[in-house]
Symmetry: C2
Subunit: 343 residues, 2 copies
């Protein structure tokens, strides 16, 4: 079934997409339906983050289902709020659509956004749809709150460097999808890609989870990170952000960087350096944070958190210590999307 | 001079664009440079509005200078905040750029955004640049505050309908620019378009001013609008929004709709119905609001505010009374950008 967007018009489409939205946060005073959303934050600080995603640059609809895209677009913004030690509360979504998209397509996209919002108790408070000459553009803005904001700038020498989950998986998932796309386009027959045993990597790429659970764990354990950032551009790049803004150096141990088994298998299959994937592959949306040395025992007791190194004086530089004991300066190769303008 | 964006990289470009930004609002705790901006709003309600502008749909760079585009992108968001009886405080800007844009182009765009921000005392607290396969996409989110939010839903029967400035000018400016573009493309010789005597219309289209001054005037005069909206999609469309959300009808008098002399001259030149231009032409960014009947004298004493009609019971419908006394039902023909998906 395909309903043309023109049959509903912008207002009709927005009404349809936002009809059943009921705010769950006390801070949401008025959502969709006026010139602006109205929020109330008398007791906490307000966090704002925004993202603009462009088809063909940030996502490829040949292998990304629209529902997953919506889910991820929301999740990426939640991740930024968690990285400030905050809780996401409201989300606005603007989409620009070319004519090839139907009402059902937009509903799929919104279904993903709303699923993400339900899981993280976030209210959709603004929506805008308009047209685009070529592809799909999605702009999300997330508003959150925090009683005790954690910046990138608070790390001190001797602080321990911690990371949640595992790294490099989202990047390997992307490599896998790109390879299957190339195989598919090179063949005449309609063969199905073989993703058996690689589901975790696909999920890391297509359906990342923002780590609100980690923020809660830390709070429950009475640990206040001295600095925090989410890993969207790769561990190296994010570590260098913290070092620069905190005015410190760091030592990170290759052997302690958490990597999943599937990631390792795929890196071998692709003949890629595994540590490079973990250091520079982006989109893991894990949390990287530092804690004071005295919290060592407490943080080691947490599930799914790894200590990967420690902060140093700025003069000591930012280094990776390899398995064989060599030191290399960390470089921000980063993630490609936003680093260069293509085409 | 043309500097490729790739020579700076995303972070270099953002550093360059945001280097000299100094916040002026007390509510801005931390701007650009972390995972999210940090704001503080202990005493007032927080307003959030967002917009996504796509090249070829919302703007045409053949006749819109980048500095004007930046100015307008910011101004359109400020206008939404003023329409809630608020004051804009913070702005985030994301831009996606294709390869044809240079660092200097982005600086021009930002120069316009920053000029708008300076004039309305708004802080840029977030910036993001990424690439686009085809055109330019700009996403702005504006955060503001209000001690006493005015919604679209508060109008009562007998309330007076008021509008600031004059209407239809931005639409005629667009027609003028489109005509000159067509003329220009049809001719081999490099003739300059003749805009003499039409400067006001061009300014209405290219450099609209959000009416913060009107919000201040109303407040100074002790008038609290019962409902308010900004005119982005045309008077008819906005009036119908207020009527629907307030559960009232309206009577608007054609003869009282404020129209500038230049708008009238151009409508004649284009052989267009002037009232249709004023009712359905978009992008004027004037304020449409209602006040209680007892504020009649006070509101009539204000400069640049016109009474155009009054609210009625819902059963009376929403009507335009023409100069010759006929009644027509108002229709939301609206503004084309967002109402249908093209191409």
């Amino acid at each position: 079934m395909r309903t043309e967007i023109s049959t509903l018009g912008e207002f009709g489409l927005i009404d349809r997409l936002t009809a059943s939205i009921t705010p769950v946060n006390e801070s949401t005073k008025r959502g969709v339906g006026d010139d602006a959303a109205v929020l109330s934050y008398p007791d906490k600080e307000v966090l704002v983050t925004t993202d603009l995603l462009m088809e063909g640059v940030h996502f490829d609809l040949t292998y990304v289902p629209l529902k997953h895209l919506g889910y991820k677009a929301a999740m990426v913004n939640f991740s930024d709020i968690y990285a400030m030690n905050g809780k996401p509360r409201q989300l606005t979504i603007s989409v620009a659509l070319s004519k090839r998209f139907s009402v059902e397509d937009v509903e799929e996209l919104y279904a993903g956004i709303r699923l993400a919002c339900e899981r993280h108790e976030v209210d959709v408070v603004g929506g805008d749809t308009s047209s685009s000459l070529t592809g799909l553009a999605i702009s999300c803005t997330c508003i959150g709150d925090a009683a005790d904001v954690v910046y990138r700038s608070g790390a001190k020498p001797t602080d321990l460097i911690c990371v949640s989950g595992d790294l490099g998986g989202a990047y390997m998932g992307l490599q896998l999808l790109e390879r299957e796309k190339a195989v598919f386009h090179g063949q005449k027959e309609d063969i199905q890609p073989d993703f058996a045993g690689k589901e975790y990597l696909l999920e890391r790429q297509l359906k990342p989870e923002a780590r609100g659970d980690v923020v809660k764990q830390l709070s429950d354990a009475g640990i206040r990170p001295t600095s925090m950032i989410d890993i969207s551009d790769g561990l190296s790049s994010e570590l260098l952000h913290i070092c620069k803004q905190s005015g410190v150096g760091c030592r990170v141990y290759e052997e302690h960087i958490p990597i999943d088994y599937q990631t390792a298998v795929m890196a071998e299959e692709f003949n890629m350096n595994l540590s490079t994937c973990a250091l520079n592959g982006g989109e893991d949306y894990e949390l990287l944070f530092t804690v004071p040395l005295e919290d060592r025992e407490k943080v080691m007791a947490l599930k799914g958190i790894k200590l990967i190194g420690y902060m140093t004086k700025p003069d000591d530089g930012s280094c990776l210590i390899t398995r064989d004991g060599q030191e290399f300066a960390l470089k921000a190769q980063g993630w490609q999307h936003d680093n260069k303008v293509s085409n």
